[in-house]
């Protein structure tokens, strides 16, 4: 669906090792977001990262707009500070579920992966609702076992957003 995220032939053992590293990354990343520690969130990215959350139709037709669109970790830091300190929105709990991790390409320096995600939201009075379902297209910088996101494109199927998206994916 996105250029640069094609499946390459990969040796099975390399794919398994990469998959374990990516799953570990997702677990820590989601723990930070779900734990409400939003100002720590940019630290999962490289300095020159690209981050975009956009609906399926935009991705499928090559439209560049993002619900969230950031060039560089500093833009993510500005967003994190805005969310935690300036923005007004009703209190809510978020839960991220990431699954079906699929390794698209691996080198010593980089892992390219695709995963599915579900984002659940619970408002003060509300039921827990499926706020977003979508796919993550991730490009990681790899330094030994440590991964940082060089690029994340979160492409959601849930095009009709229930009011708003307060926290990132």
């Amino acid at each position: 669906m996105l250029p640069g995220f094609d499946k390459k032939p990969i040796a099975h053992d390399k794919a398994l090792a990469a998959r374990a590293a990516v799953e570990d990354f997702h677990a820590e990343y989601c723990a930070v977001l779900d734990g409400g520690d939003i100002e720590q969130w940019p630290e999962f990215f490289t300095e020159n990262c690209v981050y975009r959350v956009t609906e399926y139709e935009n991705a499928a037709h090559g439209f560049p707009a993002g619900l969230i669109y950031a060039e560089g970790r500093n833009m993510l830091r500005d967003r994190a500070v805005a969310i935690s300190r300036t923005q007004m929105f009703a209190p809510r709990q978020m839960l991220h579920f990431v699954s079906n991790v699929r390794i698209l390409d691996v080198t010593d320096e980089e892992i390219v992966a695709q995963s599915n995600y579900m984002l659940l939201q619970t408002l003060v009075e509300g039921a827990t609702t499926l706020h977003q379902a979508g796919r993550l297209f991730d490009r990681f910088a790899r330094n030994g076992a440590e991964l940082l996101l060089k690029e994340r494109q979160a492409i959601y199927d849930t095009a009709m957003i229930a009011n708003d998206l307060a926290y990132p994916v």
Binding site: T54, F63, P64, A65, M75, D78, M88, G126, N163
Partner: protein, 430 residues
């Protein structure tokens, strides 16, 4: 959470949903808004009939969304699904998304290209202008069945709407003797409308959609309410995009008073200086905050306009957004008294450089359902809808700048909202 998933107070209490003949506007006149304008099923039904299906021009598309012959887009006039289609001769047509035969909503893709429209149910086919072309087995089989002899295709086309365009913006109406769009918009609104839609070809940058659990009129009111901008949106204040005291305007059109332009001019320095006395009034103000990436706030002057921001409300269903260099239209689809759908189309110009496009995308973080400002508006309007629907109190207060109706000289004014309700009451018979 969608409005349909409300847990406490699902359904409107009868006191906020009375029969229309029992509804009386409060004695305060335009200094109060009764809750029932936001919560009544009867009022909503009359709005669709008299406003969205009545003598108004409704936004349906940008021409850039259907640039080529055969291009089409699903759209809405009020809550009614329509199709916007570009015919072989380049003309644009808008018709109901309802097969003339048995009523199927035949166009299922958000947008696409085809040479004709074929209803999947019985394969009645229509040309790109909505005329009925073909009916399978029209004469029956073996001289049995089929349409009666006097059946004429030209009497059974799709229901067509009146269509007009202004510099690449497509409007439609169920009323076929509408005034020209220029007269409808009025010169004072056209001034800033034509700044954005100046005849240059647009480049579509993408779409988003959201459901706001609020009445559709609240969206207009929010953009005719410059008072909230420096109070709710502390982000604007902190980073000097808009501070009480910035040069600004709140214009209402002189003909009906329903269209508006909320405009402001950014101060020259990147961050605004806020006086101590104004700071006291703004409890959300944050001292000493600076951005880590300042590219986001840069304003590149690209138009011959004194304003860096113009937010236009075009009655009844269009918002034109020019927030510095991020441009977009928002299409309001009313969805019952307690809900509305917002369809966003972000754009730039065909001759934008790659860097200009990226600047527009970066600045796009201000707006939309995850925008620094957009999110706060959505939240606030949800709070208002919940408040007016579930409380015992029955009206809200509209007294800022109380002597004025229409264009306001001050940001601390609700005069443009009063102008909208003045017209609304006439049309609705309240």
């Amino acid at each position: 959470m969608y409005s349909s998933e409300t847990v406490i107070g699902l359904g409107t209490p009868s006191v906020k949903n009375k029969p229309i003949e029992q509804l009386v506007w409060p004695e305060e006149g335009l200094h109060a808004i009764p809750d029932w304008v936001y919560t009544s099923d009867d009022v909503y039904a009359r709005e669709i009939e008299r406003i969205f299906h009545g003598p108004t021009w409704n936004f349906v598309a940008l021409e850039a969304e259907v640039p080529n012959s055969g291009d089409y887009k699903r759209s809405y006039v009020g809550p009614t699904p329509v199709v916007v289609s570009r015919a072989e001769d380049g003309s644009i047509h808008v018709f109901e998304n309802r097969c003339a035969h048995r009523g199927a909503e035949f166009c299922r893709h958000t947008r696409g290209n085809n040479t004709e429209f074929v209803c999947p149910y019985h394969q009645w086919s229509y040309d790109l202008k909505g005329n009925l072309q073909g009916i399978p087995f029209k004469r029956g089989v073996n001289k049995l069945g089929g349409m009666p002899r006097d059946f004429r295709n030209e009497d059974h086309g799709l229901k067509k709407l009146a269509v007009t365009t202004r510099n690449g913006v497509v409007f439609a109406s169920f009323t076929h003797d509408m005034e020209p769009i220029e007269d409808y918009l009025t010169p004072e609104i056209l001034k800033d409308f034509d700044t954005v839609f100046n005849g240059k070809k647009l480049r579509i940058l993408g779409f988003y959609k959201n459901e706001l659990p609020c009445n559709w009129k609240m969206y207009h009111e929010n953009l005719k309410d410059p008072y909230h901008a420096t109070l709710l949106h502390s982000f604007l204040v902190v980073f000097g995009l808009l501070v009480a005291g910035n040069r600004s305007a709140m214009v209402a059109d002189s003909k009906r008073g329903v269209h508006g332009t909320m405009a402001s001019a950014k101060s020259d320095s990147l961050y605004a200086a806020v006086d101590a006395d104004k700071k006291k009034e703004m409890r959300s103000f944050h001292e000493g905050m600076v951005l880590k990436d300042e590219r986001f706030l840069e304003y590149v002057k690209e138009f011959d306009s004194e304003w860096s921001v113009t937010m236009q409300t075009i009655w009844p269903n269009l918002i034109v957004q020019r927030e510095m260099n991020t441009l977009g239209v928002r299409h309001i689809v009313p969805n019952g008294p307690n809900s509305m759908i917002m369809l966003w189309t972000m754009f730039g110009y065909e001759d934008d450089t790659e860097e200009t496009t990226r600047h527009r995308l970066r600045q796009g973080n201000l707006m939309g359902p995850a925008g620094f400002l957009g999110l706060e508006d959505n939240e606030a309007m949800k709070f208002v809808q919940e408040g007016v629907r579930r409380s015992v109190t029955d009206r809200s207060v509209l007294k800022l700048d109380s002597e004025n109706i229409g264009t306001a000289d001050s940001l601390i004014s609700e005069a443009a909202i009063r102008a909208m309700y003045k017209h609304y009451r006439e049309v609705m018979g309240f």
